[in-house]
Symmetry: C2
Subunit: 344 residues, 2 copies
């Protein structure tokens, strides 16, 4: 019988996950039922939001069960189809999990990748959920106007680097926040930010934001929350927008206290809006098309860090959550089996 190598959740982390929270196992290859497809996984994604998926805390999806494969988006190729809507060889983005083989219902498929639409791995990045997140958050909620100042958190990350470039395309001045000198250079030299702040080298982050945003902040693209949000709120202009797509700066699992933002929200007439890209799937093709055009014309660039094997996934997640990755973090999955799975 063919084996399906997987990375499963061995125990539930109570804070940031560590590599030993995961284990590699080999399960029998799954068998699709009527209406389902068998998918061979090609790439899986490593996302900051996975921290939330692992915790037994209120979230927008149920926690990953202990003993089950780690939940993740992935790119796969249809190896066997019991659904007339899918043909063998179709490439899809869906909830593959960290495993070589997966049986999917059509509802687990996020999107079919159109033939010849950019590099395959980009569909887990700038042409995938991260691009959709950056687009909705920056262009629709943030809606920067020419000449406005846009401050982007985790600006060297997959979402932040696209968000900043989209703000620049909209005519705004862009300032990025990041956690190392190497990434600060990356923001300026590769992603075209007008200014960049390495928050780890700044004794007073609010003062640094004030220095780099002398006319104030009109959009703060927030994927962090916490004290970084507090610092940004000290410099927002009247009418500023704060799209919120992540809270990686908050201690996981607990409700932290902090300075109340209500007075700033009122006095500065802020719009603070949470959003989740998956709410906007119905417009994915339209938005991915626009992003593809910008990629093709060179107005948008992206950076990927691709780990070579399934067993690298937990380490890649730890790196991601420690902010050590450069660019969109992916893992290449190469099933040992040939494409046509021999069944018992």
């Amino acid at each position: 019988m063919s084996l399906n190598h997987r990375v499963v959740l061995a125990r539930r982390p109570t804070s940031l996950p560590v590599e030993s929270d995961f284990a590699l196992d080999a399960a029998p290859a799954p068998t699709p039922a009527a209406g389902q497809i068998l998918v061979r996984t090609l790439y899986v994604s490593i996302d900051p939001g996975m921290r939330g998926w692992l915790l037994d805390a209120p979230n927008y999806s149920a926690p990953v069960p202990v003993g089950g494969p780690m939940r993740s988006f992935g790119i796969g190729e249809v190896a066997e189809s019991h659904n007339p809507a899918y043909a063998v060889g179709d490439l899809i983005v869906g909830m593959t999990g960290w495993q070589e083989w997966v049986v999917l219902d059509p509802t687990d498929v996020q999107r079919r990748i159109p033939a010849g639409s950019g590099p395959l791995s980009a569909h887990l990045g700038v042409l995938g959920l991260t691009g959709l997140t950056a687009y909705v958050g920056m262009l629709e909620i943030g809606a920067p106007q020419p000449g406005e100042t846009v401050l982007v958190s985790t600006a060297a990350g997959a979402v932040g680097s696209v968000a900043g470039q989209l703000a620049a395309i909209a005519g705004a001045r862009t300032v990025g926040l990041t956690g190392s000198e190497e990434k600060r250079r990356l923001l300026l030299d590769r992603f075209g930010f007008d200014a960049a702040i390495n928050y780890r080298s700044e004794p007073d982050l609010a003062a640094a934001i004030g220095r780099e945003c002398p006319t104030g902040v009109d959009v703060y693209f927030d994927s962090v929350g916490g004290s970084m949000l507090d610092a940004a709120l000290q410099h927002v202009n009247v009418g500023a927008r704060v799209p919120v797509c992540g809270t990686i700066g908050l201690p996981p699992g607990a409700v932290a206290d902090g300075p109340r933002p209500e007075r700033t929200i009122l006095v500065k007439r802020l719009r603070v809006q949470g959003f989740i890209a998956t709410d906007h799937f119905d417009r994915f093709d339209e938005i991915a098309g626009r992003l593809t055009d910008w990629l093709d014309s060179g107005r948008l660039t992206h950076l990927e860090e691709i780990a070579p094997a399934l067993a690298d996934a937990p380490g890649a997640l730890v790196r991601q959550l420690a902010g050590e990755n450069l660019g969109r973090s992916l893992v290449r999955i190469a099933a040992d089996q040939p494409l046509s799975l021999s069944r018992p």
Copy 2:
């Protein structure tokens, strides 16, 4: 020489103002210069936002100077005009302050009251800034849909009572928060709320909100902030809107700590938006016209508490800030002088 009786700020409060922070004085009647008008004050308003105007803290207007007349909106009649745009006898809403006579520049005039447009005092209430606040906050930011649940803070107040009625006109189920049993009855019997909570009689406000909003909260109209906002956020639905028009629940002058809302904002895709009615003056006539129609047709009702004399203003403000007033709080100002002021 004619005298102008005024209520001036005698000393700056550091927290909630008390009556002895103010003093009654009599200054020489002011004289208009070219381009200005002399206005006889008829009514002045008592507003929760005055607490902020008195403090020497960041706000959306400079603090009222000690020794000067208390800043306030008022209704007045033009007694002398050195500006061709205004005729003697015109009725205006503007920054009269707590005083019998005031010289105004055209920029101090908020609005000219159209002839025959509802009861005069309503132009400081449901047809004035409070109506504009309720309209913009509820119908444009909150945007309740038929069948949604709308929770309104300080629901028996001038803004809240209108906001709740506008939500009902939009087809929503309305739940009001208020601070006494008398006001709770007022919400149900006069303002037509579907449910009402006296937060002073509830040991657990969040539980009471959950009980009265069994399908969750789609719009929380927030003029309070603080722990009442925290309680409401425990019951918001995905996609809920939180228009913020006041922070009366926060300790004045200081930045309070509280549970961080970022995670709820993200997970529930909230839109939390501060707004100030004066930003929307350009649409005042359009919105006041709509409110007048609802008043005339009986779909909207309002309640006023009018103190009879200038000297009552500080006490009325203290009552307002203690939540003891019923309805829109105003003071009737009757200058001793006849309408045509005799000059020295």
